[in-house]
């Protein structure tokens, strides 16, 4: 677990250095994810240790959003003042994005299936 966690942190660090050094608008961890993907492609798969550590981290991915979500307490005034536009924007935009993305993908999948 420690070796795998170190690997993940080193890749995040390298990603952070690349992002800051090249002034990219992409956060370090996302670059770290791309780097790990390339490494896995070169090595043809994760070690069992990396496999189980990342599974452990991802199994409780939702937990990691709780501290930032609790930050809503800092914005209760704005939320109270603008609750209607906020609620409608989040609700309609979420439904629309889910539906549009899924329908476009289904359309393209069918095209690809009938085209071949």
């Amino acid at each position: 677990m420690i070796v795998a966690l170190t690997q993940l942190l080193v890749l995040q660090l390298v990603g952070e250095v690349i992002a800051r050094g090249l002034k990219l608008p992409i956060p370090g961890p996302v670059i770290g994810m791309l780097l790990l993907f390339l490494l896995l492609a070169l090595r043809r798969g994760p070690s069992p240790e990396l496999q189980s550590t990342s599974q452990g981290l991802l199994q409780h991915l939702s937990l990691l959003f709780v501290p930032a979500g609790t930050g809503i307490i800092l914005h209760l005034h704005r939320v109270a003042d603008e609750w209607l536009p906020l609620l409608l924007s989040l609700l309609l935009s979420t439904l629309l994005t889910l539906a549009v993305t899924a329908l476009v993908m289904r359309l393209c999948t069918r095209r690809a299936a009938t085209g071949e």
Binding site: L5, L8, L9, L11, Q12, P25, I26, P27, P29, V30, G32, M33, L35, L36, F37, L40, A41, S54, Q55, L57, L58, L61, S62, L63, L64, F65, V66, P67, A68, G69, T70, G71, I72, I73, H75, R78, E82, L84, P85, L86, L88, S89, L90, L92, S93, T94, L95, L96, T97, L98, A99, V100, T101, A102, L103, V104, M105, R106, C108, T109
Partner: protein
């Protein structure tokens, strides 16, 4: 009573200044939320993030604790978002064969979904009279928290408000996705996962992993790609909306 009260007070003063309390209540709230989630038969409606956040907000309000004090402890959990994002490469790699076979729908879904997420959020908010700052804070709401906060800062939104909107979007997407896909008769796990990841980033990805590993891997892919696309394109096409 007169003897005990000051002691409890001293204890509280001590505990409220150490990170221990913030960290412990975060884990306790999350486990309680998981218990409720399980008891509901893993219903998307009983989203664990939503329940845990509601419990913690109530707790901070009742105890009069500042968010900053709480976050001094909770930051250790928050920090793990970084390595967890890197770790998403693992399921992505395992599922890559399927991803490669679906290149065309993946890219089309990504571009259309990314555009829809930002534009519809801004336009609906404007239509119902949100302030400009709120509209700008909403624009990157579908991408993962660290990217969204960076984008918000660059386009003139409030990063910490964006973080809250991102998480609310994630919860909504995780809650509504299954019902919407069932109603639209979309059964392909890859499509369900990818659309959830484009819309609802990491929280949607957590939900997609509960459906299947394939849905989770496609959600992780969508989350990463939408982060990239939004970070690169949103600051460029946002002036067109103003």
């Amino acid at each position: 009573m007169n003897v005990v009260a000051p002691q409890i007070n001293d204890l509280w003063v001590y505990l409220s200044t150490t990170p221990l309390l913030g960290l412990t209540v975060t884990l306790l709230a999350y486990q309680a939320a998981w218990w409720v989630h399980r008891r509901s038969g893993s219903s998307p409606l009983a989203n664990p993030v939503m329940i845990a956040v509601a419990a913690l907000v109530a707790l901070l309000a009742i105890s009069g604790t500042s968010y900053q004090t709480y976050f001094d402890g909770a930051q250790f959990v928050h920090f793990l978002l970084g390595p967890a994002t890197v770790a998403l490469a693992v399921p992505l790699y395992t599922q890559f064969r399927r991803v490669r076979a679906m290149m065309l729908p993946v890219i089309a879904g990504l571009l259309v979904g990314s555009f829809t997420a930002a534009v519809s959020a801004v336009l609906v908010a404007r239509l119902f009279g949100a302030s400009l700052v709120t509209q700008l804070s909403l624009a990157p709401k579908s991408v993962t928290t660290p990217i969204a906060m960076g984008v918000a800062e660059r386009i003139g939104g409030i990063p910490s408000l964006t973080a809250v909107l991102v998480i609310s979007t994630g919860i909504l997407g995780a809650v509504l996705g299954r019902y919407l896909f069932d109603a639209l008769r979309i059964d392909d796990a890859a499509i369900r996962g990818f659309a959830t990841g484009v819309t609802a980033h990491g929280i949607g990805t957590a939900r997609a992993f509960q459906e299947s590993e394939q849905a989770g891997a496609f959600a992780a892919l969508a989350m990463g790609m939408n982060g990239l696309v939004t970070a690169l394109l949103l600051p460029m096409f946002l002036p067109l909306l103003q």
